[in-house]
Amino acid sequence: MTTTFLVVSSLVKVVVVLVITVGTFAPVIIWAERRQSAMIQDRLGPSRAAITLPASAVGFIDRARLPMWRLAALTGITAIVALLALTFVAVKGSNPLPLSTSALTATLVGFGAASVLLRVGYGVHGTIVRNGGKIMLLGLLHPLADALKFIFKEDFVPPKSDKLLFSAGPIIALIPAIAAFAVVPFASSLHWDYLNQVLPRTGEIAGPVVPMQVASINVGILFIFAIASTGIIGAAISGYASDNKYSLLGGIRAASQMVSYEVVLGLTLVPPFMVYASLRLENMATWQYDHIWGIFIPPLTLAAINFFVAAIAETKRVPFDLPEGESELVGGYLTEYSGMKFGMFFMGEFVEVVSLAALASVIFLGGWDVPFLYRDGFEFSLPFVATGFSVPLVHWLVVAIQFLFFLFKIIVLIWFQLMIRWSLPRFRYDQLMSLCWKGLLPVSLLNILVAGAFILSGWLDGWVAFFEKIF
């Protein structure tokens, strides 16, 4: 592997991570959070922001609709004819058309895809024309409008504040949230020389390997702890530098809350280390790919629940958002912030939500592992019966499916977090602390003992073997 290749692939991975976190998920979560709350409360939520097309463009789109529909119908009929011919070949064994089977398959795939695309385009055009040339995208433009508003708002700095720390606070809060993504594996490693081949299911493969994570470092999860505890400094500094009592109280609350939950967060993840016998996140995902998902192992189920609670407290979101509890502290450490500085806190919070979801899915939900998908493609096998069928897939497709499934898991976990955010009322501060020190901490300490006993007694191996027999 040449140095250039290494640099280029690393850059690509960094860009992918940035696009996932800052580019896609953070704005979409801002939209989804409000939309979700609206749906729970029988409202519509953000759906109004629109880009209006000029009337001439609308006219053009309107005129293009009918030809598109006709083309969709024509290509669809062609695809159906090819499908019928292929069925005929499969059933009778003879080809009714003067075309080879491979040409028929190509026709089916090509024309079928074109037909679907044209039909979708017809629908989209219809929606645009019906809205009078407004492109609304379900309200997804609202975050964009928010960002514009943030950028053009006055950047107010309290006159007696510590100017440097005041400006540094949001940056210190945002950067660690993104940096945590550096060690998260988002697919199994890519064998560069065999992209278009079906790989063997097991065994070593020669040639350059691209690990699908930005940095493969041996401390793995410890790096995330280190980075996450840096986030405390951002909140504490901004509270201190704001020259405001409420901000200071909010900052102190944030610091003490995050330090307390940091302890629990670390201890809840000890059972996973013991089971997976590694600190590297990619090894954890591979272990779960080889055996079963962590959440199905009893001590890890408890660890997963504890981890989720502690991590929500760590991200300072409802029901643990006491640092910004507006009923007591106006806006907590955010009180004096406005414009893009506030936007960066906001963004950091949402990126933390994403990285929490990514971590939980890597440690407990198998990461990029797709059920029934192996390195050579899908294989569905039924338990207790020796039947099954397999779909061999080329390597790049396998990796792409793993990546998409990983994103899917992240989305589900984010959705669950937002659901919690809109369902539960805020804790009182003493309740928060007693939950941490009297509830989660003893439970996770005990859980370590239980996990140790589980592994040493050999039950873990039996449990895993039992599950592997079923699936």
Binding site: I40, D42, N131
Partner: protein, 197 residues
């Protein structure tokens, strides 16, 4: 007299409530069912109360007092006889009427007058509806079902006679349901200033 003491029982919590997790699950379940019903459910079962305002509108109630209109006679002229009842009744003094006589050869001459100028300043109007109550001829009505359309110019809010005559009622009609008796109607001879009864 003995003091009566009413013992109020402290509400008890079950173990499930004390553990908190089952209650969280219940709350989440409620919120989730709401979310799924309103997001993915069939349109009929959705209970979204929000209206996408400029595209969708909710009908105003039947007795809503909207912007005024001047009702017309069958020949298109205003029913208004310029009696100034409405402008007298108006607490905001937003109605300005200049009465004029018909030509002497007109059958309505001496029988009634007509408004040469009829102006309502919709910015001063408080939409109390007194003008409609005061009108003896059912000539001014507020049954348009429209609120004042927004504008950035004050001139747009001063409605003259032609504008007021051009606004239809909610049913699309420029007339009213009440019949009108023109001069010469034998069933309603009316009063004539020149000829007496």
């Amino acid at each position: 007299m003995a003091v009566e003491v009413k013992v109020i029982k402290k509400p008890e919590r079950t173990v499930a409530e004390q553990v908190y997790l089952p209650e969280i699950a219940k709350g989440l379940g409620l919120a989730m069912s709401r979310f799924f019903k309103n997001t993915f459910g069939p349109k009929a079962s959705k209970e979204i109360a929000t209206v996408k305002y400029p595209e969708e509108t909710v009908e105003y109630p039947e007795r809503f007092r909207g912007i005024h209109r001047l009702t017309q006679r069958t020949d298109g002229s205003p029913r208004c006889v310029a009696c100034l009842c409405c402008s007298t009744a108006c607490p905001a003094q937003c109605i300005h009427i200049e009465a004029a006589e018909y030509e002497p050869d007109d059958p309505r001459y001496g029988y009634e007058r007509f408004p040469a100028v009829f102006t309502i300043d919709e910015l001063r109007c408080i939409f109390c509806g007194y003008c409609v109550e005061a009108c003896p001829c059912d000539a001014i009505r507020m049954d348009t079902g429209m609120h004042m359309p927004p504008s950035t110019r004050r001139e747009h809010f001063i409605f003259d006679k032609a504008t007021l005559l051009s606004i239809p009622g909610r049913d699309g009609s420029y007339l009213t349901a009440n019949p009108r008796h023109e001069p010469g109607d034998p069933s309603h001879p009316g009063v004539d200033r020149e000829r007496g009864h």
